[in-house]
């Protein structure tokens, strides 16, 4: 496994911070407002997909922080328990930063899709358990899986550009 720590010897911290905030906020607006407005499901995990791609591009130091922040945004604006999204996002950042990649632009897409979908389902599942319910499988699962794959396929080619942008 070629870890991301070798990819980024020195990151431009202000660019990483600003880039992360802009990317996560844009992803959140797309997920919560743009997708429903054009008739698609808000269950498509755009925010978690962005966390995965940023973690893959910027490595294990940035990934968990971005995931924590993105999850916290989901918690603060949703109906779930505060902290659940942050926890899931943080773990997602750790996992995504360790996805093995090579020079192919869609390298790691399979693991990235799985990680994104798993995070979305974990977020829902943990919130259901904390609310005293048994998590169940619904039609939204198709939106989560298909949406995760689509987001990763669209976003993953930006990984090389993201790496260059913060050098």
């Amino acid at each position: 496994m070629s870890t991301a720590s070798a990819r980024k010897p020195g990151l431009h911290v202000p660019r990483v911070v600003i880039g992360s905030i802009v990317a996560v906020l844009a992803a959140y607006i797309i997920e919560s407002s743009v997708l429903p407005a054009i008739g698609l499901s808000a269950a498509i995990p755009v925010v978690f997909a962005v966390v995965v791609v940023l973690a893959m591009a910027w490595g294990p130091t940035v990934g968990p922080s971005v995931g924590f922040g993105a999850g916290l945004l989901i918690d603060l604006t949703g109906t779930g328990t505060l902290g659940v999204g942050a926890l899931v996002g943080c773990v997602l950042g750790v996992v995504a930063a360790r996805i093995p990649v090579d020079r192919w632009r869609w390298s790691g897409a399979g693991w990235a899709t799985l990680a994104t979908a798993a995070a979305a389902l974990l977020d829902t599942g943990i919130n259901a358990v904390l609310a005293g319910r048994v998590p169940s499988v619904s039609l939204n699962l198709l939106w989560v899986l298909g949406g995760a794959a689509l987001c990763v396929l669209v976003l993953l080619p930006t990984r090389a550009w993201l790496q260059e942008a913060v050098r």
Partner: protein, 242 residues
């Protein structure tokens, strides 16, 4: 590497602390502050992308009070006499997994309070779960966290409707094990005496399935929620009984 591990550990501990804190004493002040920042962005995004979908139509016109009144007219007609109303527009949806809630672009400044009933063209679609100054989060009746006291209109039997997730029928628990209910019966809200709660006799759904095995604790059934649950745009909130 050690610093990275320490950082991750700190974030995980912070997450767990937040979960425990929220489970013990949820504070809406921070959520309200975040809503004030995020909702205008969501409103703008909906405005820009509305022409590409059926969910939202002509948001620019909707900011005009007269246009709002016209859009709300058929919905507000269902409001019981003597109730003040506020008209809101859906600007965001939270439908991850089983969750089913939407955000509307009106809030405390329009008189909206937690627990207010929210109406769409078919009837009751949810209740206000959280309020900020200019936005409110509406827990839809299809969300598993939602429970609404109901009455079967034909027989008068009382029960509780619980959400089962977006796109799913509501679960009905009728109190009387010998209740005479039938598929197609209309289910309406039981209502409360609160000045800002859910008034009685608002359409909630229609019985779509019956569990034939009556048990001591009552009868189970399923109800299709009122039409339009997946195409919500203009909503009317019953703010207070005058």
């Amino acid at each position: 590497m050690a610093r990275t591990r320490t950082g991750v550990l700190v974030l995980i501990v912070a997450s767990l602390a937040l979960i425990l804190w929220d489970l013990r004493a949820s504070d809406t002040a921070v959520r309200s502050a975040v809503s004030q920042v995020v909702t205008p962005l969501q409103r703008t995004a909906t405005s820009v992308f509305a022409p590409f979908g059926q969910w939202a139509r002509d948001v620019q016109d909707f900011s005009d009070p007269a246009a709002r009144a016209v859009a709300a007219e058929p919905i507000a007609a269902q409001a019981p006499p003597g109730w003040r109303t506020a008209t809101g527009r859906v600007v965001a949806a939270d439908i991850g997994g089983e969750r089913a809630s939407v955000t509307v672009d009106v809030g405390r400044s329009s008189g909206i309070q937690v627990g207010n009933a929210v109406l769409a063209p078919g009837g009751l679609v949810g209740t206000v779960a959280r309020v900020a100054d200019d936005s409110a989060s509406v827990l839809l009746v299809t969300d598993p966290q939602s429970t609404v006291g109901v009455r079967v209109k034909a027989s008068g039997e009382m029960g509780v409707a619980t959400g089962s997730g977006m796109g799913q029928d509501l679960g009905l628990s009728i109190l009387n094990p010998a209740a005479e209910i039938a598929i197609g019966d209309e289910v309406v809200s039981l209502g409360s005496t609160q000045r800002a709660g859910v008034p009685p006799d608002l359409p909630v759904g229609t019985i779509s399935g019956l569990d034939t095995a009556a048990v001591d604790s009552g009868r189970s059934a399923a109800a299709t929620p009122v039409a339009g649950m997946t195409t919500l745009d203009t909503l009317v909130i019953l703010t207070e009984r005058s």
